[in-house]
């Protein structure tokens, strides 16, 4: 695409329509955006004349939303691009670990190719930023990291990414500390680990080691925490304390954090305050086969929550399609966010908090100077996009069309 | 005993004591002389005042005086109490087992029914209850025989307590075809119409409740229904009962015994039915069971009258009864963490039909000249201590007559 061009006839949200103090709909309008060197440098209302000869692309009234963030995938685990196979039943998580270690190296399609297959799907869904965990353990060395980096390199002008060096088999249990350190020196920007209690069998030592690695490498943290009930919440409290000690507020994430959903509501409130004060954020995949963290409560208390797809057709699950907008819709369904405002606010969970309107209905995105990264959707407003999982027609990253097309658009059949 | 006499040096509660933060620190009491005449309290003098009449005086050396208690839910007609120890049989089929058991057992117990009922009454009296509401089995096997035995026993205690008899179709009003029998019972000495689980026993909520209501209106009598049915089934039955109560204009004349379903509900749900019961003057009697306690403080807060009872002492249903309503009040206080002076003192109201020496604000409310002399004399410094420490009953007085213990020349334990 051109370095500088007009994207015309873009639908943007302008505010909420109210009747007797109740919001009954979203007001949108058509605008023209000037894309220049990857940024939006001008926003003009449709009707205002454009007097220049710059190239023009026509968005034909498609709705623009901030591009999405895929906050939790495993590019190295996915079987996408290879043949179908279901999961093998396993009686314990350890058994599944061993199974995975055996199966992954034996797959015909390379890790890099499989990662690319998944990246293509993630991008088409609207995700222009990916946080991927990459398994680091002695048997695989840094191979997974290298393969995933290779795949990401090929997508570097289509999306941004961050890599978590993920000690899947236990930071202490699998003796992976050294390797994780190396991974951090070789391009992984985040330290990851899993269940200090049930996998590493030593909450304190595991967490301390995790934080040490992070501080040493000046890296963020993203811990997989499945441990249930009060075991989980205790681990979270210890992590919060260590985070504050290290001064790592705002740099730590907890993926899954199931325990928060298991304890009483009073305890969840208390924990939410602790998490907020330690600047710890939560990443959830909105599971339906077990209790999940109370996102509504966390949000109320100011804890940052984001959504990821997690396993997509791999050894752990045969399901998953990489569509982060679908997952946002699932979150809304789970918490019964059925009205216009709640639905449109749900978008924030997949955009790092960016929504076209703030909670009072003022337009806050896009603004001149913002990155030219957006998704063009066949929907009348973001509420509809979330509820109806509307079709992503095109994805633009830093001014470039990286997925879909602005041409050959059929009028959508109402889906 | 003579018709008039004085109790001297009786401890009465005057008010609460406070610290500088206005927190209640204790109960202030004083010693008084109480005149009892023709079954009523005819005079209350402070110890500084002198007694000028020649009537007998009994010095109780500072015993605490509280209103006598009410045993609001007992079955004196079917018991092992007073006979040899006998444990229960396992109830393989729940309530159905017990009903089958009774069809054989009750006729066997009949010869001892009157004597054992009297022994139970002695027990209850000794613990301070001078009012008894007993549910009496009316069923096709035992017919009205248990009722006869109950009335005979109670007649002999006319000078010691007041009583009400509930005609209780234990085997199901409809299920055991006992409608005609209940009507007969009402004509032969039963005072209230009883019932049990319209849903799980009678299997017809509407018809069961309507029948109870019909019989009650027909005989201008109150109602006391056993309701164990759980969660929303219990809630629904209670709501139907409230509606029928309104339709019949029977406000203030209906009691639900147990109301176990309330233990399963959320706070908003329990609040809803509490408000309904308060509006329709439906009261609840509870045995404060350990495992499925109903939210008594919530009910009380919403204006529902809650009273307590022992249900059974030792019989084929359970061997654990004690018969002591002061202990029951203490259990309630423990269960709901009523640990400080005021709430402990106030918990007495649940066993006295609402009367306490001091009211909620610490103002003297009882005794008053003219009140019936229904009194328990306790070894305690205040009612809070009496409830918490399950104070020893020194004497129980009913309409001026000492019906348990003694007020003449005894050793005090030096309160």
């Amino acid at each position: 695409m051109n370095r500088i061009y007009w994207l015309k006839n873009v639908r943007l949200e302008c505010g909420y329509r109210k009747e007797n103090e109740r919001v009954t709909g979203t007001i949108t309008g058509l605008f023209h955006l000037l894309m220049e060197d990857g940024r939006i440098t001008k926003i003009v209302k449709d009707g205002d004349a454009i007097r220049d000869d710059l190239p023009v692309e026509d968005a034909k009234g498609l709705l623009a939303l901030p591009s999405f963030i895929e906050k939790h995938v495993h590019l190295d685990k996915t079987l996408m691009g290879d043949v179908w196979r279901a999961c093998t039943p396993s009686s314990s998580v350890i058994e599944r670990f061993e199974n995975e270690k055996r199966v992954l190296p034996s797959i015909a399609t390379s890790t890099c190719k499989r990662a690319e297959s998944l990246l293509e799907i993630l991008l088409a869904s609207g995700s222009a930023h990916i946080r991927t965990h990459v398994d680091i353990y002695p048997e695989a060395g840094l191979q997974n990291l290298e393969q995933v980096q290779q795949a990401l390199a090929g997508y570097s002008n289509r999306l941004s990414s961050e890599i978590v060096a993920f000690a899947q088999h236990g930071l202490l249990r699998s003796g992976s500390v050294k390797l994780v350190r190396e991974a951090l020196r070789n391009g992984a920007g985040i330290v990851g680990a899993v269940d200090p209690a049930t996998v590493d069998n030593n909450i304190e030592a595991s967490l301390v080691q995790l934080m040490d690695l992070a501080v040493e490498a000046n890296a963020d943290v993203d811990l997989h925490l499945h441990d249930p009930g009060h075991l989980g919440t205790f681990t979270m409290k210890r992590l919060a304390a260590l985070t504050k000690q290290a001064g790592w507020e705002g740099r730590v994430a907890l993926s899954h954090a199931f325990g928060i959903g298991d304890v009483s509501r009073e305890e969840a409130y208390e924990l939410a305050d602790i998490l907020r004060e330690a600047g710890i954020s939560i990443v959830t995949s909105v599971p339906i086969n077990r209790q999940m963290p109370p996102v509504d409560l966390l949000h109320e208390r100011g804890v940052e929550v984001s959504v990821g797809n997690d396993n997509i057709f791999d050894v752990w699950s045969p399901l998953g399609n990489g569509d982060i907008l679908e997952r946002a819709g699932r979150l809304a369904e789970r918490f019964k966010w059925i009205d216009e405002v709640s639905l449109s606010r749900t978008l924030g969970y997949i955009t790092g908090g960016k929504t076209p309107l703030d909670d009072k209905g003022n337009q806050v995105w896009p603004k001149v100077g913002d990155a030219g990264s957006l998704v063009l959707i066949d929907a009348s407003c973001s509420a509809e996009a979330v509820a109806r999982r509307s079709e992503r027609k095109a994805v633009i990253y830093k001014g470039n069309l990286v997925s879909g097309s602005l041409y050959k658009q059929k009028q959508s059949i109402e889906r | 005993m003579s018709q008039s006499y004085w109790l001297t040096n009786v401890r009465l509660e005057n008010g609460f004591t406070y610290n500088e933060n206005e927190t209640i620190t204790g109960t202030e009491t004083g010693n008084y002389h109480i005149k009892i005449e023709s079954g009523k309290i005819s005079s209350i003098l402070s110890v500084k005042e002198s007694i000028t009449d020649p009537d007998p005086q009994h010095d109780v050396h500072g015993l605490l005086m509280v209103p006598s208690f009410k045993e609001m839910h007992i079955h004196i007609d079917k018991t092992y109490y007073g006979g040899p120890w006998k444990a229960c049989m396992p109830a393989i089929n729940g309530v159905k087992t017990r009903i089958e058991e009774e069809q054989v057992l009750l006729p066997e117990l009949l010869p001892t029914a009157k004597v054992r009922a009297e022994k139970m009454l002695d027990l209850l009296l000794d613990f301070g209850s001078t009012h008894i509401r007993t549910h009496c089995n009316i069923d096709p096997v035992i017919g009205l025989k248990n009722l006869e035995a109950t009335i005979q026993a109670l007649e002999g205690y006319k000078d010691k307590l007041t009583y009400e008899i509930v005609a209780f179709p234990q085997h199901g009003l409809l299920r055991s075809d006992s409608v005609r029998l209940i009507r007969e019972a009402m004509k032969n000495g039963a005072n209230l119409v009883g019932g049990v689980d319209p849903a799980t026993i009678d299997e017809n909520i509407e018809r069961s409740l309507e029948t109870i209501m019909d019989i009650a209106v027909e005989h201008n009598s109150d109602i006391d229904v056993h309701l164990h049915d759980p969660d929303h089934l219990g809630l629904f039955t209670m709501q139907r009962l409230a509606s029928l109560t309104e339709d019949a204009g029977w406000q203030g004349r209906v009691t639900v015994s147990h109301a176990s379903g309330l233990a399963d509900l959320s706070v908003p749900e329990a609040t809803g039915i509490a408000e309904r019961f308060s509006e329709t003057g439906i009261s609840i009697t509870s045995t404060v069971p350990i495992f499925r306690t109903i939210p008594i403080p919530l009910l009380h807060e919403k204006g529902v009258k809650v009273e307590l009872g022992n249900d059974s002492i030792t019989d084929h249903w359970t061997p654990f009864g004690i018969g002591d309503n002061l202990e029951k009040a203490g259990r309630l206080a423990e269960r709901f963490r009523m640990i400080e002076e005021r709430s402990l003192a106030q918990s007495l109201q649940f066993i006295t039909g609402g009367v306490t020496p001091l009211n909620q604000d610490g103002v003297k409310a009882w005794p008053n000249v003219g009140d019936e002399a229904n009194i328990v004399l306790l070894e305690a410094s205040c009612s809070a201590e009496a409830v918490a420490r399950r104070a020893k009953r020194a004497a129980v007085i009913f309409r001026g007559n000492v019906v348990s213990g003694s007020i003449s020349s005894f050793e005090t334990t030096g309160v």
Partner: protein, 416 residues
């Protein structure tokens, strides 16, 4: 399509591959099918016999054929599909929702046919060729919704078979709708519906009795919505079971939602499951993710027939839902962690009315010669994959006619 033709290169499931006595994967093979007058008259392995025919031949391009899907719980009359986007108003309980709906009904009745047709097309594109729809029968719109829905269904003749449940959404007793229900049954509704005898009608025994009475009067099956929770719902279901038994209405009743079965202990629901199974009372579920649902796994084990549906969606009740029965089956598999090949393949029966492609030893059950030539063509290697990956539906065939999509693989798959 032609009256008689050969459909070649159809992939069908042909068996299981066992490893260590465990089913490891599904075997498939390519077949040629002779279809005449909408029936499969012949089925041959493509490789065994070279096809010699002068008649028309259509190539299925090795697409996988699966039994057609059934949407067993929809409300064609409620959806906003076809109208501009509109979100919902949250309400604290069912009665409040009914009040809100009542306000809209008359206005919506005008566009009933249009909206229902949109929904039918959506269901068809997902692979459903049968729909059981509930239609509001109440004093607010009388039987108008029924008329509109029937017009829409008529337009889908040959594409979608249907059953219409006369559904007293606002309460049979609460709105005194027995007369209207009778009218609806005379005007073409084929099942008698009902709703929460306890929570809405406030008289469980009378409400159930009236409903069963109507069913017997019109010799119709029953499908009642029971949302009532906990032991209230359990009691209602038990009462219904005893009335069904008394009326001799075995295999003629269904309960939609039946949430209560998930609220009570597993012992209690298993006990009731045996009774439901004996009386042939089926459970229709929408696999909700925002509340406890009935224990479909144990109900199924006890022999209770369970079928799935999407419920009403894109309407005043919920903005979510896609009408995709395959997605619904996938959600069920996700909910119960059915991840291995066999478990995934077994989830298909919940959207096909119990039809399975293979039995547990891998012998083919469907299709067989003599079956209707009705199937869904999927871009997948086996049913397990179709469910797990929510594979693309390339085409749908009903009685030998292509009613959606195309068999030209390239263009068919692109159209999605």
């Amino acid at each position: 399509m032609n009256e008689a033709y050969w459909l070649t290169n159809v992939t069908l499931e042909s068996g299981f591959v066992f490893e260590n006595e465990r089913i490891d994967r599904t075997k498939t093979a390519t077949y040629n099918m002779y279809i005449k007058n909408g029936i499969i008259k012949d089925l041959q392995l493509a490789s065994t016999m070279p096809l010699k025919t002068d008649g028309p031949v259509h190539d299925a391009g090795k697409l996988l054929a699966l039994p057609p899907f059934k949407e067993m719980h929809n409300h064609l009359d409620k959806t906003y599909l076809g109208l501009p986007w509109k979100s919902c108003t949250p309400v604290p309980n069912l009665i409040e929702r009914l009040k809100l709906e009542a306000k809209e009904l008359a206005e919506l009745a005008e566009t009933g046919q249009l909206r229902a047709e949109r929904m039918l097309q959506l269901l068809l594109s997902g692979g459903a060729t049968h729909v059981r729809t509930h239609v509001n029968i109440d004093p607010y719109i009388g039987t108008k919704n029924l008329e509109e829905i029937q017009r829409a269904l008529y337009r889908f003749k040959g594409k979608m078979t249907y059953e219409i449940v006369a559904f007293p959404q606002h309460g049979l007793l609460r709105t005194n709708s027995k007369g209207l229900m009778r009218q609806a049954m005379k005007e073409g509704a084929s099942l008698v519906g009902g709703l929460d005898p306890g929570g809405v009608d406030n008289n469980i025994e009378a409400s159930l009795y009236e409903m069963v009475d109507l069913a017997v009067e019109f010799d119709a099956d029953i499908d009642i919505h029971i949302h009532d929770p906990g032991h209230l719902g359990l009691y209602t279901i038990k009462k219904l079971a005893s009335l069904i038994d008394e009326a001799g209405w075995k295999n003629r009743a269904a309960i939609s939602h039946a949430f209560a079965l998930g609220d009570v202990s597993i012992g209690e629901s298993n006990e009731l499951a045996s009774e439901l199974s004996n009386l042939g009372i089926a459970i229709m579920s929408t696999v909700p993710i925002n509340r406890v649902m009935p224990p479909i796994d144990s109900l199924h084990e006890k022999g209770v027939h369970v079928a799935l549906g999407c419920d009403g969606f894109y309407d005043s009740w919920s903005p979510f839902g896609t009408g995709d029965m395959l997605e619904k089956a996938g959600r069920l598999a996700e909910r119960y962690n059915w991840k291995d090949e066999y478990a995934l393949s077994q989830s298909l029966q919940f959207i096909t009315g119990g039809v399975k492609t293979l039995d547990h030893e891998g012998n083919r059950l469907w299709p067989k010669v003599g079956n209707d030539a009705s199937m869904v063509f999927v871009d997948a290697s086996c049913a397990a994959e179709a469910i797990a990956r929510r594979s693309t539906r390339a085409a749908v065939m009903v009685d030998g006619n292509l009613v959606y999509g195309g068999l030209d693989r390239e263009s068919a798959l692109k159209s999605n």
